[in-house]
Amino acid sequence: MRYLIDAIIRHGPVVKEFRLAPEGGAPPPWQPGAHIELHFTSRAGASHRNAYSVVGEQRGMLRIAVQREEGGRGGSRVLHDEFEPGMMLEVSLPLNAFKLHAGRTRTVLVAGGIGITPMLPMARALDAAGASYRLHYLARDAERLVLADDWTGLGPERVQTHVTATQGRPDLACLIGPWEEGCELHACGPSLLLEAIRAAAAAQGWPQQHVRFESFGVRAHDEDSPLQVILRQTGMTLDVAPGKSILDAMIEADVFVSYECKRGECGNCYAGVVSGEPLHRDVCLNAQQRAMGMTPCVSWARGPLLELDL
């Protein structure tokens, strides 16, 4: 579906909000936590497919917030530098992959950086339902606490901001609190933060099904080394260099493999690990699942060898 860029609003040095008006009609229905995929081409001819959470709706327009990322494939830089109001974007239907589960007792929302975007409609929905919830918003510095108009209206007892450059990372255990029946936790942020939240929640007795994540950002680490991936069932060995996912290497080699989200969130590319030491970067597997396998879409291995039951 084609959308017109109606307005672009700046929020601090690295975030631009895009207000997108669907061509001919109202925006399709979406749920808090939903994201849309933008398909666009740069002036240089590179095609991009980037996902952004829906921040909200305003006068029949969908709002998204795009952070300019220096790393990665450059889609966010193209959106920042080459797109202006009046231009068109091809946009998918909303994907409700990160659903809000309101806890009967309390709901904890944690946003890291631009991970605030899906949390805002969640917080609004909880607010409207009169639910007991708390939104924790972590950012490196004060000017990266963006979209203030969206969260200041929620009330000071609802939202707590944490500036990590000056205050350090907050005590996650304290912020999540102990598990009790009827609690739900939703978090969106870089995968390292989510991993720390997962550990803090598990240490306080949270069952994994009540801890829900959406991740973003690059998963590759600088210290990743090249891998030889042995596919036991297929009888094939692939050399995979850091920067490419193991899954993409398998797809390119025409290996029979199933996959869906390619973001470490659905677990549908799950592969049994025969030997090797995986470095898990998914946000969906529990300890038992990780003990037996991995998601080759985002995870890596210590190397040099990794053998999968594929």
Partner: protein, 323 residues
């Protein structure tokens, strides 16, 4: 479905995707709030067999099949053979070599495909949790086996598959129809209660037959009565091929393998999909979806081969079961 019942959103859907989904699939995707995800995931559906899946098919020793009887009711079954009995010699066709002498004449599949060419197949390797789905139409059926022309083909995820290794297969067991009936007898109920693996057949008038897999920890299929099963629907690929078919035509076939007893329990009935159910014990793994199958007919058959299965482990994705 009347035009009035079609929501306006379907106008937008067409611009982002070719119509790989029919109205029934779209309806369930909407009920689950997963239309956008289905569009994304639908790109894996191809009209030919993926290169890497052809050698996979060639090493399988079982194929799960969906076929449709003369009254239009789908039936699910499993056929076994030595590795190589099924092969995809081209990307557009699958062949199954199974000489007439090795077939069970009581197996509904053979009768069904003689009358209706719609066939759904699922190649599932329980030992490695890999599965590949191919739907199409029967092109050849003779004393040597059959050919299937591919209409759509795609891989499915490894979730909820219990690992089992088929250690040995011998074609010398005497096939037998051990029982049949309307309401499940005690033996059949026990097979259902123990089941951790079930295959499902559904049918769509234009798109044909579809074979799929459902798995869980033993007890995940609740025997509500001797004619009613209640099954949680775990989160999957959001395509809802099976539920989409069942929304338009509730007739359903189930096949539950009794791995130890070398038996196959085949059920024919009608399905009802229940969205937004209370699920205090987390039986659905968070989807809140169940489906019920009202059983109209069951068959219990001994497989025509001697099968030696080794159970390895349960899927680490299985949600909890009651009790």
């Amino acid at each position: 479905m009347t035009n009035a019942a079609k929501p306006a959103a379907s106008l937008g859907e067409r611009s982002m995707t070719t119509s790989v989904y029919h109205d029934g699939e779209r309806a369930v995707q909407r009920s689950a709030g997963e239309v956008g995800i289905a569009d994304r995931n639908g790109v894996v559906i191809a009209d030919t067999i993926l290169g890497g899946a052809r050698p996979f098919i060639g090493k399988q020793s079982m194929v799960v099949l969906a076929s449709v009887d003369a009254d239009g009711a789908p039936w699910s079954t499993v056929l076994f053979g030595q590795p190589g009995f099924a092969h995809a010699d081209s990307a557009a066709q699958v062949t199954v070599d199974l000489p007439a002498a090795l077939r069970d004449p009581e197996e509904p599949f053979w009768r069904n495909v003689a009358a209706n060419p719609a066939v759904g197949t699922l190649f599932i390797e329980l030992g490695s949790r890999r599965r590949y789905r191919i739907n199409g139409a029967l092109e050849r059926l003779d004393d040597g086996g059959f050919d299937l022309a591919v209409r759509e083909a795609y891989p499915n995820c490894p979730k909820y598959i219990q690992r089992r290794q088929l250690r040995r297969i011998e074609g010398d067991a005497a096939p037998a129809l051990l029982g049949e009936g309307r309401a499940l007898d005690e033996d059949a109920r026990a097979i259902v209660r123990r089941a951790d693996t079930v295959f499902v057949a559904s049918h769509h008038q234009e798109r044909g037959a579809d074979a799929s897999h459902r798995g869980g920890s033993p007890g995940f299929i609740q025997v509500a009565s001797d004619i009613l099963l209640r099954i949680p629907d775990y989160s999957g690929n959001s395509l809802f091929n099976t539920f989409g078919n069942l929304t338009l035509d509730p007739r359903v076939g189930l096949c539950i393998p009794d791995f130890e007893g070398q038996r196959l329990l085949q059920l024919s009935g009608r399905a009802r999909i229940l969205h937004g159910q209370d699920d205090p014990h987390g039986l659905t793994g968070g989807t809140g979806r169940f489906w019920e199958v009202a059983i109209e007919r069951w068959l219990l058959r001994r497989a025509p081969q001697r099968l030696d299965w080794e159970y390895l482990d349960a899927s680490p994705f299985n949600p909890a079961v009651e009790g």
